[in-house]
Amino acid sequence: MLSTLYALLFYAATAFLVIGVGMKIRKYAKAPAPLKIPITPAPTTRGGVVWRMFLEVSVFQSLFKSNKWIWLFGYLFHVGLALVLLRHFRYFTDPVWFWVEWVQPFGVYASFAMVLGLLGLWARRFLLERMRYISNPSDHLMLALLLAIGFSGMFMKFVSKTDIIAVKVFFTGLMRFQINELPSDPILLTHLGLVAILMIIFPISKLIHAPGMFFSPSRNQVDNPREKRHLAPWAAELEK
């Protein structure tokens, strides 16, 4: 019964995530940027733009320029989360890919970086007047959700181990459309339930910044307006 419920929950969450993000990306891709608005320092070639975006994604270049504390906590959280996620691939792959094996030890400690970063970001929302002013309840809840996911996961790793073999059987089963038994460990169920919530709200919350940032015209445009004429389809209509 519980296994079926969680199986359905994860199918639904995956569908929400994939379809939701897909729809958002389609919307962003379909809306034209009518004007060239790259912001300085703007690369003059496509390759330059790729490099710029790479630096934004890999080291949060602009955030670093902006504010070292937000950068530090934000970077700890994101890198921590990335490593933890990579580590989790072992619950979905059989045999486990070699690089997933390789990342395991890092992934374990990355969870500390992740929650430390989240705690830092959350502290800022309480302690700084400016941050308090711009924060909505959803901004706090998002951090609470991520922290709860992080802590519940760490609890299972470091305090009370769950039957991870069974969990893996459950998830690899889901990928072949079989529903196997999921251990009824309350911490595990909490962890998974929160992850499913995160997946569901991903496309309809600020989490959409992850794919969205690639569509930011001020960052993804090539600075070549004098050399190459840029024209949106609806603007071309005005010329008829």
Binding site: K27, P32, T44, S62, S66, S205, S216, P217, D223
Partner: protein, 511 residues
């Protein structure tokens, strides 16, 4: 909010972060455009009865037509990186002048009507209903943004508040609430050809007077041609260059450079304006109308090149948008950039050695340079990234011995706005302008303390006008603001010019 009552902000440092002063700038509104000014631009004369539906329709349309609007409203995570980046926040302390808070004024309504969370859980995501009060709040705070884009540089996703401000102003104008200052000016450009409403005859007289002035001063006949068919270069310059100080000294500088370079050039009375307030009001159609005048003038006069004078947002519209709005310019000489900036032209001539420059003519000036926001963050000069910073400095250093940069955190791509850009250069916003200038003025005061800087040079008509108003509030002479080409003009020794070293220098003091 009268001019005299403005409390001058005292900042310890140019980027000193103030404590929040809730409501400090609440209710500040520039005059609303009259029905005549609205209708001339294709907007309704006054607030339409079904404004609510119309606003929401316009928002949906903007999201479809402009990717930036949609992406920027969706992706903000409220990280706070931008909160201390706006000069208007630094100068006023009003939390709604923090870039993210300014965006949220519109984002909160967008969420309420266009997102799942906002429709069903408005309290959770700070969504709110659209009311007439909200419209007025928009009108107030979207006219406390100079569209300088400093926040965008520091945003991890490049969210550009200027795009939101432009969209908000466009939405407001489309339901009948336009800004008097910008819309009235656009009307003049469309009717007469320039922001001042200076007709052809008056313009001709002004330019002839200027020619006489140059000849009196130098003994050389330097022409400032108007509507000369067959000239090689069409100069498009802000109309402030025809009458305001120190702008006009810049125009004299361009004329001397063209004269020494031996090129034929002309000003057009039909397109006697580089500024394009269509950008300020966020209207693509209006921006296009103004731009098309330049295309028509270039075709009618049969020129081969277009060169733009010193003007910040004009250079953004010219460099980044002109090809889009009024291109393709395949009828112009493709060996030159289309369009070209006067500083690119002058720097080329300096490198070629065409200009005879005597730097010592500017020795009474200890100079710093204000990177105009639109030039710094929205354009380029020359062939390489960063040319918009290097070329003006190269020219300045070629004509001036004493040059000192301000704090690097307030120059180049991090430059602070003068406080008067983006359609705010109007007396009804003087209080805001003075406060918004505080960070820039503080950075200048620092180089005055450290290096004895006396003057500030700029390449933007709005910066020049704004600084001549606010410099006195911060302890400088109103003539401490200079055009870069005014410095060039001071230093150029024209061919055949009688030089008399005993004579007073043609300095700013005469202005």
């Amino acid at each position: 909010m009268a001019d005299g009552n403005t409390e001058i902000p005292e900042l310890k440092d140019a980027l000193d972060i103030p404590c929040l002063k809730h409501g400090a700038m609440e209710g500040l509104e520039p005059y609303i455009a009259s029905p005549d000014h609205q209708e001339a631009l294709g907007f309704p004369g006054e607030l339409v009865p079904d404004w609510k539906e119309k606003v929401l329709e316009k928002m949906a349309e903007t999201a479809k037509k402009n990717r930036a609007f949609q992406v920027y409203l969706d992706t903000c995570v409220k990280c706070g990186a931008c909160t201390d980046k706006c000069h208007f926040f630094l100068g006023t302390g009003d939390p709604k002048n923090m870039p993210v808070a300014r965006q949220d004024l519109l984002r909160s309504v967008y969420r309420r009507y266009f997102t799942f969370a906002g429709k069903y859980f408005p309290w959770l995501v700070g969504a709110r209903d659209l009311t007439e009060d909200v419209l007025h709040e928009w009108y107030s705070y979207y006219h406390q943004c100079s569209q300088c884009r400093r926040c965008s540089v520091f945003c991890p996703y490049g969210i550009d508040t200027a795009e939101i401000t432009m969209a908000a102003r466009d939405i407001l104008a489309s339901v009948g609430i336009g800004q008097k200052y910008s819309n009235e000016i656009l009307g003049k450009v469309n009717k007469i050809g320039n922001n001042l409403g200076l007709p052809e005859k008056a313009l001709r007289n002004t330019l002839e007077d200027l020619e006489e002035d140059i000849e009196d001063e130098t003994g050389v006949s330097v022409r400032i041609p108007l509507d000369e068919k067959g000239a090689d270069i069409l100069l498009i310059t802000p109309s402030a260059d025809f009458f305001a100080e120190p702008h006009i000294d810049g125009l004299i500088g361009y004329a001397k450079v063209f004269h020494e370079a031996g090129v034929s050039w002309t000003v057009s009375s039909y397109a006697s304006e580089a500024a394009n307030f269509g950008m300020f009001i966020g209207s693509y159609e209006n921006m296009r109308e103004v731009s098309l005048r330049i295309r028509k003038a270039a075709q009618d006069l049969g020129v081969k090149r277009i060169v733009f004078g010193e003007c910040g947002h004009a250079w953004r519209v010219a460099y980044s948008f002109l090809n889009t709005l009024a291109g393709p310019f395949d009828f112009l000489d493709q060996n030159y950039p289309v369009p070209q900036h006067i500083l690119e032209f002058t720097w080329d001539e300096i490198q070629k050695g065409t200009l005879n420059l005597d730097k010592s003519k500017n020795d009474h000036i200890r100079l710093t340079y204000h990177d105009s926001c639109n030039v710094a963050r929205g354009t380029r000069m020359g062939d390489t990234p960063g040319g918009q910073f290097e070329i003006p400095r190269n020219v300045i250093k070629s004509v001036c011995n004493y040059y000192f940069d301000m704090d690097r955190d307030t120059t180049h791509e991090s430059t602070l706005c003068c406080g008067g850009g983006g359609g705010l250069l109007t007396d009804d916003l003087m209080d805001l302008r003075v406060k918004g200038a505080a960070p820039r003025m503080t950075a200048m005061q620092q180089v005055t303390e450290d290096h004895g800087v006396t003057h500030l040079a700029a390449i933007c008509a709005i910066c020049k006008s704004q600084f001549s108003k606010v410099l006195p509030k911060y302890g400088y002479d109103m003539e401490a603001i200079l055009s870069v080409h005014q410095l060039v003009s001071n230093a150029i020794i024209l061919k055949g010019q009688e030089t008399d070293d005993d004579e007073d220098l043609p300095a700013t003091a005469e202005a």
